[in-house]
């Protein structure tokens, strides 16, 4: 059972376009993380969101945590080829004591010059 549904699974866009990746669940998360992974490397943390309705910005990336803490989105403005990679969302189910995370299946983003 996939507790975290991430969409779309694949995105292929041109440089300069905007895009949004979604992460949805029927479970409430105490926090949610977004990671970016490049081939042959481990996932690298982009952001952690904790409060329902929270919005965080990282340069051209905007992250939002849903009011009910069941969903999140990642929006990239004016995508660049350097944004290419696998984007993963991961959530901690409420009450988790040891920081255990559930991961979405990931979104493979390709930005063409």
């Amino acid at each position: 059972t996939q507790l975290l549904e991430q969409s779309p699974q694949f995105l292929s866009i041109q440089e300069g376009e905007n895009l949004t990746v979604y992460c949805n669940s029927s479970s409430v998360f105490s926090s949610l993380q977004w990671y970016r992974q490049e081939p042959g490397e481990g996932p690298v943390l982009l952001v952690t969101v904790v409060t329902g309705g929270e919005v965080k910005k990282l340069k051209r990336l905007t992250f939002q945590f849903g009011d009910a803490r069941k969903d999140s989105s990642l929006h990239i403005t004016a995508a660049q080829p350097g944004d290419t990679g696998l984007y993963l969302c991961a959530g901690a189910i409420g009450g988790t004591s040891y920081g255990k995370l559930t991961f979405g299946q990931g979104t493979i983003l390709t930005v063409h010059p």
Partner: protein, 117 residues
Amino acid sequence: DAGITQSPRHKVTETGTPVTLRCHQTENHRYMYWYRQDPGHGLRLIHYSYGVKDTDKGEVSDGYSVSRSKTEDFLLTLESATSSQTSVYFCAISESTQDRGRRETQYFGPGTRLLVL
């Protein structure tokens, strides 16, 4: 970058042989995790540790065992490797803190690519 190393980075082994993967951290973090990453399945938790000699199973623990005798080292053992255990294995760490966001944020090692023939 978090101080996490994994060894070996690549390994080819034969079915039925034992394999041990090592994760080493220099952050003195209490929690450590082993995941496997496969196409179409994302990252799945194998085992985790919440302290020295304190470990528990994740969602895909069958065929794997772990040990943690020191804070900095977390070992993953495949007692008798099978072809279904061909995968990329990642170690991760997180802090023990009352701050929920920090406690639930994990930092990953570079991974070990394992091929079981």
